[in-house]
């Protein structure tokens, strides 16, 4: 049985510009003694997922829904006080992002490690300190560190203190939120090895949040690739990293620089979408090199892309000469020309779509081009968000579905 089973978790928060869809309907399971790595770009909702699991919510929560089954109990149903007493740290603990700042500068390291004990079990100070020192020894910290203040410790030491603190109540699940992000590589390795040791020794399950694919591949049994608040691909680490199904996973892996290879790292053009208005259909389709008809193009995006293209390739041979382009509803774009008749424009635009669809995937969304009396109506394909398809290894991409139908995996 899974120790942690997250089903349809939704966590949005309000801003002045609208609700940010930070975590949008994600589901995954974590088995006892396993590590799942949650990987993605900055701002894709990794840390929000962690906060949502531990219910560390800000005041401006818009939606917070779903089920989180922990140890056979839906902890989303617990009251705040019960949640604090039963789940936080006792069941699920967390190594915070930027752990170097997660220590109270006015409290000695030992007392800090002992805090959860005092908070949860009301242990008296001396005993708590004893246990704290024992916990610090387990993570490889000498006893005298307990007497020091955080600013007297090195980054690696602080990280160890934070880990000792996360483990002191012997939780079943530990969320590691970029635990090594501010550390040098040697220290990173040490910390990762320590985490592995602790996992083996105490039978922990980790949710390892990172943007470092190397570390994820090293530590994780399973990988969940997040993009724009959703999980794009989730599956066993050896599969996902070796033969990524989702185009985003593929691009992500291609962007990692390699030490002993001639391959230059690639980048993904564009920026992650604005999460207050996530793109319809597949959220990655705007940046996707292999996007096609079904990915969910809408008229507005189409117009933006077309204008951009017009601005960069103005006056070139074969580019249709339209003067105005305008979205009508979600699936229709209207083109007008000054000189050419609608028929001529329709013909040249159809020709342009046919020839340019491989270099500009958004043109694949054109379903029909019709000449009207005064203008040209371009109708787009209807799209929809792709479902996560698969059993053990799932990906959310229309291509994957097609590939499954044809029994091949896209490169």
């Amino acid at each position: 049985m899974a120790v942690l089973d997250i089903r349809n978790l939704i966590y949005w928060y309000r801003t002045r510009r609208g609700a940010v869809h930070a975590v949008d309907n994600i589901s995954f399971k974590l088995e006892q003694g396993e590590t799942i790595a949650v990987v993605g770009e900055s701002g894709c909702g990794k840390t929000s997922t962690a906060n949502a699991i531990l219910r560390l919510l800000p005041k401006n929560v818009e939606r917070y829904e779903g089920e989180i089954w922990f140890d056979g109990q839906d902890i989303m149903a617990l009251g705040n006080e019960d949640f604090r007493k039963q789940v936080r740290w006792k069941g699920i603990s967390m190594v915070l992002q930027g752990a170097l700042n997660a220590l109270n500068p006015t409290v000695r390291a030992g007392a800090q490690v002992a805090e959860p004990l005092i908070v949860h079990y009301d242990v008296d100070r001396d005993e708590a300190m004893e246990q704290a020192i024992a916990a610090m020894k387990r993570v490889g910290l000498p006893q005298d560190i307990a007497r020091r203040y955080p600013h007297e410790l090195s980054g690696g030491m602080k990280q160890r203190v934070v880990i000792a603190m996360a483990l002191i109540l012997k939780p079943k699940v530990v969320i590691l939120d970029e635990p090594t992000s501010a550390l040098d590589v040697m220290t990173q390795t040490n910390i990762i090895n320590l985490l592995k040791e602790m996992k083996a020794a105490e039978g922990l399950s980790y949710i390892f949040i990172t943007h470092d694919l190397g570390l994820a591949s090293d530590l994780a049994d399973h990988v969940a690739i997040m993009y724009a608040g959703e999980i794009d691909e989730i599956g066993p680490a050896d599969h996902v990293f070796v033969h990524p199904k989702h185009p985003y996973t593929g691009r992500l892996l291609a962007s990692v620089p390699r030490l002993r290879s001639e391959d230059a790292p690639e980048f993904i053009p564009g920026a992650p979408p604005d999460l207050t208005r996530p793109p319809p259909g597949c959220r990655f389709h705007l940046r996707c090199p292999v996007a096609f008809e079904k990915c969910g193009w809408v008229a507005e995006e189409f117009v933006d892309r077309l204008r951009l293209l017009q601005a960069t390739t103005q006056g070139k041979e074969g580019f249709p000469r339209f003067s105005e382009v305008e979205a009508r509803g979600t699936q229709m774009v209207v083109l007008r020309a000054d000189s050419d008749s609608p028929e001529t424009l329709a013909a040249s635009f159809s020709e342009f779509v046919k020839s340019g669809r491989e270099t500009n995937p958004f043109l694949k969304s054109v379903r029909s081009v019709d000449a009207k009396t005064k203008a040209v109506a371009v109708t787009l394909h209807e799209g929809a968000p792709p479902p996560l398809i698969g059993e053990e290894w799932r990906a959310a991409c229309w291509l994957v579905q097609e590939a499954t139908a044809h029994d091949t995996i896209p490169a």
């Binding site: 531990l54 560390l56 005041k59 604090r84 007493k85 936080r88 740290w89 006792k90 603990s93 967390m94 915070l96 992002q97 930027g98 700042n101 997660a102 220590l103 109270n104 500068p105 006015t106 409290v107 805090e115 959860p116 908070v119 949860h120 203040y149 600013h151 934070v162 603190m165």
Partner: protein, 508 residues
Amino acid sequence: MAAPVPIGLKAALLDAVRTKSGMVGTGMLGFLILLAILVPVFAPYDVIKAWGGTDAWQDNPKLAAPEWSEVFSGGKHLPRTIFLTPAGTPGGFLKFRTTENVSDGKGNWNNFTFLGLKKTFGFQADDFPSEMTVYLNTMFTQAGNLSKPPAISVIFQRPDNKNLTLLDDTPRLSTTDINRFPNTKSNAYAVSQPIKDTPSYKILDNLREWLIANNVTTRAEAYDPQFYVQPEVLLFAQLDRSMLSKSTAHVLKGDYSLRIELVGFENTDDANARGIVFGTVFGLAGTDDARHDLLVGLLWGAPVALAFGTAGALVVVLIQMILGAISGWYGGAVDELVQRAADFYLIIPTLPILILISLLYRPSIVAILFILVAFGIVGSTTKVVRSIVLQVKEEQFIEAARSYGAKKTRILFRYILPRVMPYTFALIALTVPAFIFLEASLSFLGLGDPVLPTWGHTLGLAYNNGALFYGFWWWIVFPVVGIIFATIAFALLGYAFDKVLNPRLREQ
């Protein structure tokens, strides 16, 4: 990068004390604290209890400058107070007493008592004494009109042997005193500035007659209504016409004697005397118009100001700090309530309200403190601390504390308040002078504690008595110096804290 802000209260304290201004401030504060500890030992609270009365101070000269101000008098030797102590004390009056029984031949015996008291004292100063008073304690029997009260003469002997009788008196008892045996009557004879219709008022006429007899003035001149008799000058001046004005008179240096002669009509009659020739300088800090030794008042001002300022600042700032932290940490309705209350309290004019309360109730210093605290539970510190808390609460370690399940109150007291404490300490140090000033202002207006001699109280009295106008500088300078000293001590400490906690202000 700026030097890191020290972490924790202890570190901030140590760092602050190590700065130059911190060291000076600590030194000054240490001196004040030492005073506060020692003063009650050397001048117990009883002295202060007597401050409002006159009895404890009547042997001090009035409005005397500090003794050391003699240095600035151009080499003059200014008169100190001379005590003519009663018979029976070392160096006191010499006493001669004898009784005699005389028969009138018809079987009646008349009983007499002859008594003489004499005290010789040297007067070597270059200025005239400020006053002179003779106290006479007479014991006699008077039952109805059966016996006569004794007859008393007070004779003043000068080095030039131009002696004079200051007064003759027969002490009489008021009707309420009659039939108490044995009767004692204490008379104080103010030789200088005698009050009309008292026995000692005769001194003035006796002096006029003495002047006439010594050919200093004519009779007409002496009894002219414009003629002003200054006994303390005439008695101690060289006998010539220059003696008529204090500005021209020359002091006659030498040995003077005060002699008191009594003839009683009972064998039991007795008397003792005591006299004071008041000087013009006194002690280290001089005296005021009520003969208070200002040094006592000044020294007592230190613990009072220190206790009042520190207690007030500590309580007010701590309450405001905690409310500000609660306001910032919990937010929402609590925040709104506390902040609007703070706005309201900030616009309330505390001083006028205090003046009103003081006028109506004359509260003691403790009551004033309570009123100030009541009017200071929220205020500017609430706002400052709230803004700091708003910053601190977004820090990662607060999030960490929340994630491991610490309760909100625990986070507030264990994580947020320790971060705010050092700033609060600077605020306390800077608020103490405000409280000292406030107490001084109230006392100055005559609305402070009516009993305690605080610095402000002393200043207020000085102002009301025109000290500045008449040049009683010591009455003003010392309390002002006290207030400034205490204020600077705390201001320097506050400044030191500020420097430590705001690295931008730090010197390179």
